[in-house]
């Protein structure tokens, strides 16, 4: 929008000569500036940004069957079939979950509610402090900006081993360290979390009481 556009409104609209009908006559003495009205109008039509209709005010509703300490069955993804312990719901709506890692190899991870079945098995995890873990904990580390690809570099197979940050390992051992004694107290729970969930012949999910 050019700033030097002069869109001066005349203080009053020029009255026409006598005798001619002029509808503008009725608009005599138009005030130059009303309160709140812009003084300058842009020469081009500026499209108004449509306000987003996404409601971020309410977080995803957590199913009543999922409470901190519930054992969940993962239905899809890399860890499908595993039974994991639910810790808390994150601001993004995803569920924060841990294996614990020593038991079934599931690290501190986020899961979507829809891909999880809540069992009725619950542990008291009030003593486990997970306040410090939020969505930012899982943000991908920003890679250094890649240089322009030369002919050689383009064909070079990048062997990038996924390195798990020390921060993650530290959090993992801290959370699991608090959880493991709680799990060991409950008979057979350790082996329950170690085992995978599977459907077998004659077992139908609509009839299972989870």
């Amino acid at each position: 929008m050019p700033l030097d556009v002069t869109n001066r409104r005349p203080k009053t609209i020029a009255t026409s000569k006598k005798g001619t009908s002029n509808k503008i006559k009725a608009k005599e003495a138009v005030p130059l500036k009303k309160q709140g009205e812009p003084r300058w109008y842009s020469a081009d039509d500026v499209p108004r940004a449509i306000p987003s209709r996404k409601s971020h005010a309410k977080p995803t509703r957590l199913r009543s069957s999922i409470t901190p300490g519930t054992v969940l069955i993962v239905l899809a993804g890399r860890f499908r079939g595993k039974r994991v312990v639910f810790l808390k719901q994150l601001a993004s709506g995803l569920l924060l979950v841990t294996g614990p890692y020593k038991i079934n190899g599931v690290p501190i991870r986020r899961l979507n509610q829809a891909y999880v079945i809540a069992t009725s098995t619950k542990i008291d995890v009030s003593s486990v402090d997970v306040k410090s873990i939020d969505d930012k904990f899982f943000a991908k580390a920003k890679e250094a900006p890649k240089k322009k690809k030369d002919g050689e570099e383009f064909f070079e197979q990048k062997e990038e081993k996924k390195v798990i940050s020390d921060a993650r390992k530290k959090e993992q051992s801290r959370v699991d360290g608090a959880l493991l004694p709680l799990i060991k107290k409950v008979p057979q729970l350790y082996h329950y979390l170690n085992a995978k969930f599977t459907l077998t012949n004659g077992v139908y999910p609509h009839a299972i009481k989870f």
């Binding site: 199913r63 995978k196 969930f197 139908y204 009839a207 989870f210």
Partner: protein
């Protein structure tokens, strides 16, 4: 169908059979297929499966994405009749050769 997976196999889907297209005596509507889910015999039992995702998996000669296996995804839409048959819609209509074939009924999106 993950290559190189060494762990124990777990079945996290219910087996189903594709019965054919939604149809009347002389007209068929290929955008909706009918599926018989194993172990489901009444309209009330179908309620659990409403909205669950389905996969029709088939093999092809040409490798795509590094595998001979291909998949058409779909979902359970509603019951069909009183005896546990289910209507389903797939991303693209199922091919006629799928009639009588196996379909996987997954347990997600879960509501339990």
């Amino acid at each position: 169908m993950v290559q190189g997976r060494k762990g124990e196999r777990v079945r996290l889907y219910v087996r189903g059979t594709i019965l054919g297209y939604k149809r009347s005596k002389s007209n068929q509507y290929p955008n909706t297929s009918m599926v018989q889910i194993e172990g489901v015999n009444t309209k009330e039992e179908v309620a659990w499966y409403a909205g669950k995702r389905l996969a029709y998996i088939y093999k092809a000669k040409v490798k795509k994405n590094g595998t001979h296996y291909r998949c058409i995804w779909g979902k359970v839409t509603r019951p069909h009749g009183n005896s546990g048959v289910v209507r389903t819609k797939f991303k693209s209509n199922l091919p006629p050769r799928s009639m009588g074939a196996r379909v996987r009924v997954f347990m997600y999106p879960s509501n339990i």
